[in-house]
Symmetry: C2
Subunit: 339 residues, 2 copies
């Protein structure tokens, strides 16, 4: 059973293929009776548009690539949900790849745009190699590349991000407000823009509050559970242990708490710990995690909307270039006043 084409519909409706095409894409432009006959013929033949043909003819893939640093990271799933929802509303499909895989396969990232597989690209990885960033920047389709969550310092791509500074400052102030004066920070991976933004904001806020900050209270991590465990060991070994720890991610905070618990140290009784992100799991953790919430679905939806605007109205001059989405402090049970 061959699937039917526009030709088949045209034959049944006794009109030209041009008219069928118009009826389908722009019904207002044809007469009432044509519209009826065509839609009847579509029903009879079970016609479905062939997207490969349409894509070739319109020079548009009707799909968008989402690039993740790592598919196996649960942080991204809700963002994908937001992106996908918005994309599919507009008739676009979502292609997924990870930086690592694209690299391993020997493909170039820009190929996705060059070979008409995707019309644009949402990059969730600010850690691209400089030469890859350079390639993207100089590509003719550079205006169809958008960064979300992370970004690349010095590059001028449109982007969607959350209020990292305000979130950090809210975190430090929360700890301050409940009485902490010695506060440590576990950072994200070295070189990551979120890591440095949050770390800088942390240092600035500590200064603003006139709090002492020893160099060893800034503990290097990398957003992962494992790094959180390591950071906990570092904290345990400290001469002067800060009474509160602000981690650059929830996973870090969870690993930190898990390791402490193995050493018989209780959170929040012995030390307050908070994270950043509010991943799904944060609420169920023991203890439920105090954190800074990012609306990841909204980040995804906003990114898709902004990118689609660029794809569809690429001529339009005043397109939104950057969106900064609000964060909020979520107080749960991993933070308490020092004893």
């Amino acid at each position: 059973m061959k699937t039917s084409t526009l030709q088949d519909v045209a034959r049944v409706a006794k009109v030209s293929t041009a008219t069928v095409s118009r009826t389908l894409s722009n019904p207002d432009v044809v007469s009432e009776s044509t519209r009826r006959r065509v839609s009847e013929a579509v029903k009879v033949t079970g016609y479905r548009i062939n997207r490969a043909a349409r894509n070739l003819r319109t020079q548009r893939a009707h799909s968008v690539l989402v690039l993740l640093p790592d598919l196996a990271n649960p942080f991204f799933s809700t963002i994908l949900e937001g992106i996908s929802r918005n994309l599919s509303q507009q008739g676009y499909s979502m292609l997924i790849a990870s930086t690592k895989q694209v690299h391993d396969s020997g493909e170039r990232l820009i190929d996705y745009l060059d070979d008409a597989r995707a019309d644009g690209m949402i990059v969730l990885d600010g850690g691209l190699e400089p030469e890859i960033v350079e390639m993207l920047e100089t590509a003719p389709q550079a205006d169809r590349i958008l960064f979300a969550c992370e970004w690349v310092d010095g590059a001028d791509f449109p982007s969607v991000r959350c209020e990292n500074r305000r979130g950090t400052s809210a975190a430090v102030n929360h700890l301050y407000d409940i009485g902490h004066r010695k506060i440590a920070h576990v950072t994200g991976p070295e070189g990551n823009v979120l890591s440095s933004t949050r770390k800088d904001a942390f240092v600035a806020e500590m200064a603003k509050l006139n709090l002492a900050l020893k160099p060893e209270w800034i503990i290097a991590g990398d957003f992962s559970l494992a790094a959180g465990c390591l950071a906990a060991q570092t904290w345990i070994a400290l001469d002067v242990r800060p009474t509160a720890v602000f981690c650059a991610s929830d996973q870090l905070a969870m690993g930190f708490i898990a390791e402490l618990s193995r050493h018989g140290i209780k959170v929040p009784d012995d030390v307050s710990v908070m994270g950043f992100d509010d991943i799904d799991f944060a609420e169920q953790f023991i203890p439920p995690l105090t954190t800074i919430r990012q609306d990841r679905r909204l980040i995804g939806e906003t990114a898709a909307k902004m990118l689609l605007a660029r794809i569809v109205h690429s001529n339009d001059g005043n397109l939104e270039h950057a969106a900064v989405l609000p964060v909020s402090l979520v107080i749960r049970e991993s933070t308490a006043s020092p004893t």
Copy 2:
């Protein structure tokens, strides 16, 4: 700057487009000198194949749709990683959608195959509506649909799954071996094939070991953290509390333990709890979770490989129809001998 086409390459190499095409897809068939001139011309022009054109001509989308019940579920991320890796090796792209979103958008699932957007489909959702399953079964492209992890009872799609029965029996035997005689089970969602398979296997194994099993020791859940919390409340309210609980998923086990901890009940001191899946988080949980490990990357890779075999050699008669992948017992700290 227009991207160059086969024509451009042909002009530069002074051969026909047919020859360029052959050189690119089947180098062995052209002469040494042609090969050299063409690849030189490709370099000069910066030629990239236009996939839309190739897809139309070859009647193949070179992409596969992966259907998830829910994008925001971290269980799937490693599976996607496995699928994507295998797909991209073969030059295929991975399209992602969720059952819910496809449904909400008013599209039909089969449209992805009908409109040449995808050549096949990996379904990770055994809970499709019966009318959707029926539509998939009767579609001409039914042989390009493969289920992974979950499946639909009564339908005959090729599938990849793990040893659910053996995993369940390993779990029960582990609890038995360390001394438990009263064992409860928290199930997955009603109607789910994994739920019922694991529940049936649980009941069977309890019988085999001659263990008493009160009806109220089978607690209805749904794979989620929240359901695990609820199940814990049910367990707490029991007249006779089983000393061990086998949960149908890790998230369930984590929610269960989290809720117990809020009530001052300790795991594994007061009760042993185990899960199923070995999601990334299981190892970091407090206490680290004893569970049944599924190799989710392998599930993904196997699914992609089997589907691609069907797409590429659809004529071949003896294609693998079902793969059952091994599970293993991972003993951590959430289980111990009863006191």
